[in-house]
Amino acid sequence: MRNPIRRPFRNKLRNRLKAADEPNLTPDALAALRRAGFSRRSFLKTTGALIVTFSVAGIYETAEGQENFAGGVAGSPPLNEVDSWIAIAADGNVTAYTGKCELGQGIATAQAQLVAEELSVPLSRVHLIYCDTSMTPDQGVTSGSQSHPANFNRNNLAQAGATARQTLLQLASKQLGVPVDQLAAKDGVISATSDPSKKVSYAQLIGGKKFDLKLDSNAKRKSPSEWTVLGKPVPRPDLPALVTGEFEFVHNVRVPGMLHGVVVRPPAVGATLVSVDESSVQGMPGLVKVVVKKNFVGVVAEKRWQAMQAANKLKATWTPGAGLPSHADFYDYLRNQKPTRDTLFVNSKDVEQKLTEAATVVKATYHHPYQMHGSMGSSCAVADVQGGKATIWSPTQGVWHQRGSSAILLGLKPEDVHIIFVRGSGCYGINGADTVTFDAALLSQAVGKPVRVQLSRKDEMAWENYGFAFVMDEHAGLDAQGNIIAWDHEAWSPVLGNRPGYGTPGNVITGMLAGFQPDPFRPRSPAPEPTVFNNNGNLVPSYVAGQVGGMPYGTGTIKSERAIIHNIPSPFWTGPLRSPQRLQNTFAHESFMDELAARVKADPVEFRLRHLSDYRVSDVVKAAAKTANWDPRPSPKPRQSKTGVVSGRGIACVAYERDNGFSAMVAEVEVNQDTGKVSVKHVVLANDSGPISNPDGLRNQIEGGTLQGMSRALMEEVTWDDQKVTSFDWRTYHTLPLGFDVPKIEAVLVNRTDVPATGAGETAITVVAAAIGNAIFDATGARIRQVPFTPERVKAALSEVS
């Protein structure tokens, strides 16, 4: 099929632009802008939308629901205006603008399908433009399984499409003299159902003109039963360019006059700059400038290799590091830090009492390390900062956030900073994208020319915002019949920094080096009682009632419940890594649920279902078990050999953030008891994310999430010595390579068309570690409570059994 998305349809418009369209940009920036696309203003000029004052507002009532659509930072196209999302050109082609970008997760394809569906136009006529502060609405960050909730339900892009279609039908009705209910829209043409010769095209109705309309929450969405484009396995349009090397990543952005920058990070965590000896690099070929701003150090040269050599040779003197807590004792360190910031998520206040009444009490502690995004390509950005204005090509997940924080970093006005998203290497959360954008911006500002920065592997991995380390205590009581009557979950986790947002450049390493502070740590203990139910970190187990203010919001039956987290300052930068907190807490909950089932000799599937009250979690558990031909019996598997290779199966499930996707996984593993090596042979993953936009894209996310989860469960752990991170390349931070023994993965897609769309990118990965750990237990009787499940840890757990 043809490519439905030509972001930002550069081929079509590259030659139409004139320098006069963007008087504020430098010639270099303008040339590069032409390469990357053009401004919104330029586009509208080419379609005439800014010139023609045509309004359909007079014939179309938009009475209700408009307030729901307001939002976005100052300068953003307003979220409650159809024109912020949809433009129909004079030739009838549709351009859609969105704040949710393609990171490799397939959301661009799904959004193009959505627009084609709601507008009844062929997919090939939809052009999607995403994440450019000159053109697209501010939708925050593309993250957190929020793209479907934001744009596919009754708001934003979806509702803009529905509003536009309804408006077009009303315009056609007026023009053709046919009532709306006797009209049908197909392929961008509206015709009378009784007389197809009575017809008018979208181009004739509104081509090149603005809608000048608010989004209407009453505009009727197409129901999934009507779908012809959504719900289909539409292939990704970027693949042909990707496999032939034509695709432009941010790493490939080349701006005329562009220089190359390399940053010089401190040698130890907490080290500060004493001095830089510029004479150490004097006369080096191509060197343009040594840049120092507080503790931020970098060099700029004409060529990349020159900059790398100069950075390597530059003599910088640093103080010793602040000293790091022992890696070996880190989990004890976390548990004992004071002060803490405590947050209660549920607290029925009777847990201690119920535990004393329980027939059986079970306790277990689980450990999860810091892990890293470890993007394949180290992060890269290109910035052109001169004359008080900045144009920045960035792989950031949030262009409007990046605009605000870059403006603060550079001392510019936000309106003078233009952020253009260009795809980077897959990020899985906040990798080095934001920090390298700051690097490029600072270096460009210092030399007054465009500068490209790509981090070294070490600078990427040693200083990124890691996924959170966790210590988790689980504590439950069971009655004489083997039912859980009380569940207590207490966690400790360190935090430092985050996404920079609109105004906190210090939340990543570059901003802090340049003199900005991260979000302050605010101790709070004891925690206030919860007033609203919030399970965004999946701190609350699926099996408890989740009561707040007397109402049950959870997915389980256990009424005696407490879930609390103690956050403490982290020695390393932290931030969202695919399924942040959700994955760690779910590893503990689902491993512990398995321990409870084993204690009362219950089948792990039946035991879960017995304590769940939400049909969507129960249904994915049942679906996974059925497809995996689950053999109902307690774990561990009876009559297993104590040596050699043994096999077992495990299950885990999650109600992601309570209501943002549901998944259950059955993993079948082999454990070599002599070596401790774990091989996952077969995985079944049942997933419910509401109505499925693109089943092939969903399967791709499930397969990738499953294997990434395996890599994290079996291999990945950030390490350090007393001064610095020691896992800074692919020899010291381990990941499953392409050529490992990949399990058979079966995705069971539960397609629910009567509920809102939810996220789908993080459901699978969340349950992997527990499913594998439970399968190891089933195979061997050994319980492994610390990620990653290295052969050494598996052997240690095995030795505890014997």
Binding site: G104, Q105, P235, R236, D238, L239, P240, A241, L242, V243, T244, G245, E246, F247, F249, H251, N252, R254, Q282, G283, M284, P285, G286, L287, V288, K289, K303, R304, W305, H373, G374, M376, G377, S378, G424, S425, G426, C427, Y428, S456, R457, D696, N700, E703, G704, T706, L707, Q708, M710, D729, W730, R731, T735, L736, P737, L738, G739, F740, V742, I745
Partner: protein, 167 residues
């Protein structure tokens, strides 16, 4: 350091002849420059990518004399005059190589950053052994990374391409 200062450094450079995808380029570059930077910056080719700069991940892979090599750790002077094939040299969108075609058909990508390393490593291997078993393919791909973990589809695509290439 001034711009004029830079001009005096050309004695540091030397003329290197690169034959890339059938085209010959003569370039004045520091001969110790890794091949990747010459391909990506001087020739503005997008296929080979900087992933680690250490030869560990495969993103920079190109084929020289039938062998897949890591261009990020290969000084350009060591391939002076040699025939170099990059991802762009395999096929085009209109006429993709069987491996590229198989990756498109299998939808074998997420972010796509690793694809160069995957496809070029597979190409060098399948050229020698198109009828490879799954175990042999896994062995051949054991030094290449994909952090989106598109492994299932990629291995399926490589196997499919091998069958096509063996015909």
């Amino acid at each position: 350091m001034t711009q004029s200062g830079i001009r005096h450094t050309f004695d540091y450079m030397s003329a290197i002849t690169l034959k890339v995808n059938g085209r010959t380029h003569t370039l004045d570059v520091d001969p110790t420059t890794p091949l990747l930077y010459v391909l990506a910056d001087d020739l503005e080719l997008r296929g080979a990518k900087f992933g680690c700069g250490l030869g560990q991940c495969g993103a920079c892979t190109v084929i020289v004399k039938g062998q897949s090599i890591r261009s990020c750790i290969t000084p350009v002077e060591t391939v002076d005059g040699a025939e170099i094939t990059t991802l762009e040299g395999l096929g085009t969108i209109q006429k993709p190589h069987p491996i590229q075609k198989a990756f498109i058909e299998e939808g074998a990508a997420q972010c796509g950053f690793c694809l160069n390393g995957i496809i070029m490593t597979a190409k060098a291997f399948l050229d020698k052994k198109p009828k490879a078993t799954e175990a042999e393919i896994q062995q051949a791909m054991s030094g290449v990374l994909c952090r989106c973990f598109t492994h299932v589809r990629m291995l399926r695509a490589i196997k499919k391409a091998g069958q096509e290439m063996a015909r």
